[in-house]
Amino acid sequence: MIDFGYTINTDRQIDYDANDHRMSHFILSREPSYNLCIGCGSCTATCSAGNFTDFNFRKLHLMIKRGEISEVKTKIQKCMFCGKCLLVCPRGVNTRNLILTINCAIDELKL
């Protein structure tokens, strides 16, 4: 092995087929409204935790859908569960149950 003074960049691309979709399926089976998000971002805009951190529920939710779940566990901890997102969601996504279910998924799927 030789040190060339640079390394091979890792791909930013989401490799959908290679990703782990168990969490996504788990959530959908427990909270049907999971599929209703249209990515408007209202939840994130009003989020109490988002007011202090980079916690972005819209994106978290989307990343789970894409199977990009490496950061979910650490990110989800920032949620205050206050429910503002639930009140603003135009599609009636049951955001609070999503949060709970994501937690369950992390636990039950040993993620």
């Binding site: 007011n51 901890q77 920032k78 205050m80 049951n94 937690n103 636990d107």
Partner: protein
Amino acid sequence: MTFDLFVLPFFLGLIFLLVVLGIKYSRWINALPKADILKIRNGIFSRKFFLSIREIFFESLLHRKMFKQNALSGWMHMSFAFGWFMLIVIGNIESRVYSGRHVNPPYYPIFLKFFVHDRKVLPFEIYTVPGFFRFSMDLMLLLILSGLVLAFIKRQHSKWFGYQRKTKQTEFDRFALTALWFIFPLRLLAESFTAGYYLGGGFLTNSLGWVFSCFLPVEYLAYPAWWAYSIALGAFFVTLPYSRYMHIPTEVLLIFLRNFGIKTEKNFNSFSEIEVNSCPRCGICIDTCQLNTSACIHDTQSIYFLRSVRQNEVKQDVAFDCLLCGRCQEICPVGINLNAIRIAKRKDIQTLTPNSYSYLTPNQPPIVDVVYFAGCMTHLTPSIKKAMTEILDVTGVKYSFLDADGTVCCGRPQMMAGKIDAAQQLMDYNKTLIQKSGAKTLVTSCPICYKVFKEDYNLNIQVLHHTQYLWQLMNENKISLKPSEKTVVYHDPCELGRGSGIYEEPRQIIKSIAGLMSTEHEKADALCCGGSLGNVQINSKQRNAIQKDVLDELQKFHPDTIVTACPLCKKTLAKGSEAKVEDIAEFVCKALQPTANKKIRKEQFKSLTKAELIGLAIEKL
């Protein structure tokens, strides 16, 4: 003769029951927290003790609450409980009188008529001692049988007894129930047959016995009947500890402990266990639950939840499918702490990753007399914020708007989800802020926040919901309001009403400036708007269904305004309401009399806090 083989089923059954109860109860009591055990020590033979006995008499025997709700159902329960109790009492005395012994084997009084049938009395002879006993014994039996008849009718027409839905019974409960139903008809038969042969009964058994004896070989039928009676009793006793009838003995224990001041708090402990076992599964909680009446959810109500707790198979979706509105708790005839138990269980079944709010670092808020905490929900109903700040400005009180730029949640939602640790972190943060502010009063606009500030923060300052604070300001003439012709209905928020017992202040305020109309469900009986954060399971359709029914009731008499005192209620109701929905703060703000010095005060106050803000931003405590 003082013994016969047939008593065995009863006798063994009784012993079994007593042993099981003995073990269970001692386990539970030993498992209680130290503090609670101390309470018991102090409780025994204190005033509380006798109060409990009184309560047991009125509730467990006479079922007063039941009567209040529905006479038929009351009678049914009373006849069983009281009648049976009296049978035992009178029976014991009677057997002593006959035997002349002070101690008799426990089965003796029960089967007295089998052992003693030598003295003949006339059907309605009550002036002689035996006559009196037999008369009253038969009377009690009749009383119970009347209840039994009602019980049969109830199976078909539960509506007459004030039950909208039938409870889904387990097989085991059905078995116990059948055993129970057989006991007294069999006693009636056994005694009648015996009486029919020996004429040793009272007005009921004798006459019935005579009738039987005309066409039945009663002398041969009596003995088997006594066997059957004994078996029925035995069967019932054996099944009791594992069926819903466990509530009969356990409720007595519960009443004592509760009066001693023991209750379920954050954790599910053995007292909660006792409460769970005291649930008679009457199903009243099903009828009162709006998930049932509005949203067609029939399997998550307290009765089923408690059953799942007792059977150790709590499901997350059941545990979380509850508005925590507290209506069932309010009406529960046994007075079980339903909300507390559910929340405690939510905590237990959860295997959630711990939250971390390390990103929250409290800085120095301005030093003030009053801290105003709007709350998350209020930030989505800015009109309430605006109204409150305007009112506070008018009063000229030195206050600060603690969460003016975005709230850190009060912790109550986490708590309702059973995430106590997470809630604690948030509470610690807010608590530090409030304490640093040096305020003597905390005013919040959100009942959800209010409840947790009041009950769990133990801030040793005055904690008020703005309804209370506004009422206080009015009484101190800090604000003067001009009355209007408006007609108003008031919607009690769950957390403020049932949750915190605040019913009067808002009504007083409204009455003083507008016409308050009453609604079908009010105060402790008030409906939940459906927006509750307590339930994480129901979908928006179900929420809307609940909200619609509530609105229909509130708007029944076309009020000008629906006033409530909770941002979440306001937001939920406003969605579908034709009448204007206002928070009481807005309502008051609109009625404010313009005061001359309003402006000046505002200025003074503003400049003051600004200066402080700058000063205090630098030096931290």
